[in-house]
């Protein structure tokens, strides 16, 4: 089964538990939905050591992670969130940015860019190490191969962070999904796939030993056309590279 077949297959089940997006309705090509029971998956993740020890968490702008984002604020974590499609770069949300009682609204995509602050890659690099990475997914298989909406934004985010040196091979990656998105299907693996260490669903946590995490950074030739124009951090990364400001790549 290829990824797009698997995606279609999962969506048939997912629509039964998915919540609509304010713009995209139930068009899963455009967004990753929140689902019934996502608060239970949040509770499960919050009870883990990797979460509890994390000071700074990267969270993707997927709707299923709204509850986690709110909880992270309450728990005093700083979160780094990309804007939708990375079109306006990356946002830093510190717990002190949010008044108590409004956590669950402040983290909505319509609010987070106003409540938090945009952060450049250079600032990110100088200020943070990412202790934990959490992403939604269209689906994820038992080997931790995940896929999103199909644009490869998450792989790109990993690649950018890797080049900045704010993540490393041992930085834990969590795929946060509904049980119907966790599939027993073999998927072809490309060298650019960023696999996850853990899959967290409302009912279980699955650990995947030694998942592949690319160390090549951004493969400029592989980018979809228009991505450099559309995604400001890619342009900044190129500048940082040209100015020799990036850490040396270590192969592993």
């Amino acid at each position: 089964m290829n990824k797009s077949e698997a995606r279609e297959h999962v969506w048939e089940e997912l629509i039964k538990v998915a919540k609509p997006d304010s713009r995209y309705h139930f068009n899963f090509n455009e967004y990753i939905p929140d689902f019934v029971g996502s608060h239970k998956a949040t509770e499960k993740l919050v009870s883990t050591q990797i979460y509890q020890e994390a000071q700074t968490i990267f969270i993707t702008p997927d709707n299923c992670l709204e509850g986690l984002r709110a909880q992270a604020v309450k728990d005093g974590k700083t979160q780094i969130v990309s804007t939708y499609g990375i079109r306006r770069g990356i946002v830093e949300l510190k717990p002190e940015d949010v008044s108590p009682g409004i956590e669950q609204y402040a983290v909505l995509l319509d609010m987070i860019e106003q409540v938090g602050n945009y952060i450049s890659l250079e600032q990110l690099m100088g200020k943070y190490k990412l202790d934990l990475i959490v992403t939604g997914a269209s689906a994820v298989n038992k080997s931790g191969v995940r896929f999103g909406k199909g644009h490869g934004f998450f792989d790109l985010e990993w690649a950018i962070f890797y080049e900045l040196g704010v993540v490393h091979q041992n930085t834990p990656i969590v795929a946060f999904v509904h049980d119907s998105q966790y599939i027993d299907v073999d998927l072809e693996l490309s060298p650019y796939d960023t696999l996850c260490d853990y899959i967290v669903t409302p009912t279980k946590i699955i650990h995947i030993p030694n998942p592949q995490k690319p160390t090549a950074g951004v493969i400029w030739e592989k980018l979809e056309s228009g991505m450099i124009d559309d995604i400001p951090p890619l342009r900044e990364l190129k500048e940082l590279e040209q100015q020799g400001k990036l850490p040396k790549k270590t192969s592993s």
């Binding site: 967004y31 079109r87 909505l108």
Partner: protein, 342 residues
Amino acid sequence: MNYSIDRNSPVPAYYQITLDLRQRISAGEWRAGNKLPPELELMKQYDVSRMTFRQAIGELVKEGILVRRRGVGTFLSQGYVPVEQMPTHEQLHTSMSLKGDSDFRNQVWLELRKVAKPDSRFHWDFEKFVPDFENSDQCVDSIRKMDWYKDSKVLFIAPDNSLVCIRKQAIEDCKQLIIATYGIARGFLIIDSKNIPPGCEAFAATLDGIEHFGQPISLAEIKALGGIDLLITGISLVTKSGVRWGKGHGYFDLEWGMFRELGAVQENTPIVAIGHDCQVVSVDLEPSEVDTIADAIITPTRVIRVEKKYPKPNGVLWQYISPELRNQIPPLQILFSQSMEG
């Protein structure tokens, strides 16, 4: 000379080139009947692909400004009469020919881009959303001074980003808000100000917030509220006669049509269009029979009362509604079934 195009603009590259060539032509760079520089040279100036460039030229050929001669080149038409001077931005709207409706809208969008705020999902894609803009909060003060607003209990407010601060104010003023979901895909929601915790008005006013705070409401329930007292909509552009363009899907016209069919609004139920000054154009557009005319236009700097020239549609014009469209819009489907049953 720098002919570079703005790749961050919502205006397509080809159209920016069309505009620029139009300017160069009217500035007198080439004379009527003369040949333009070779395609390759112009392509290089703008740094675009052949396809994009040909699309740009195609627009001017369609208008009869340029003439293409196979194997020879592109010429400025013999009959081309230069405009004495290029219009200023303020004059632009009046001097533009209205041959191509979408072209005209793009002109407005080019201006709007300078003051607009991006959408959390759609970024700058104005085909997908009506943006909020700088100083939109000044429209709130104006609308609060209107008797239409003061006397209203139930408001319909379109799901446009430019109306976020009006929704917030309406919640603070204890109004009942009916809001269409984006694309009317999940019908209508009602926000009862009494249910919004203090301090959460700003959240409840966003599209994401509406999903949390709004309750679904059917057309029958809207009717049972006793009707809608005032409708507020955002715009892509509006003429001084109140003829408006939205994103181009005509959702507001459908909303009005449904409410009218239902008896929840009457011909004299006021409609206020909110927009930035650059969205108010001074040309006159002849409305079609589905166009729902605004009674007043509010911008950050002024309030324009529309002198009534055109009636509003008195229901849904079913002859223009395809089954596909009905399928996408649940309340429209329900209303259709009811009207079939008589």
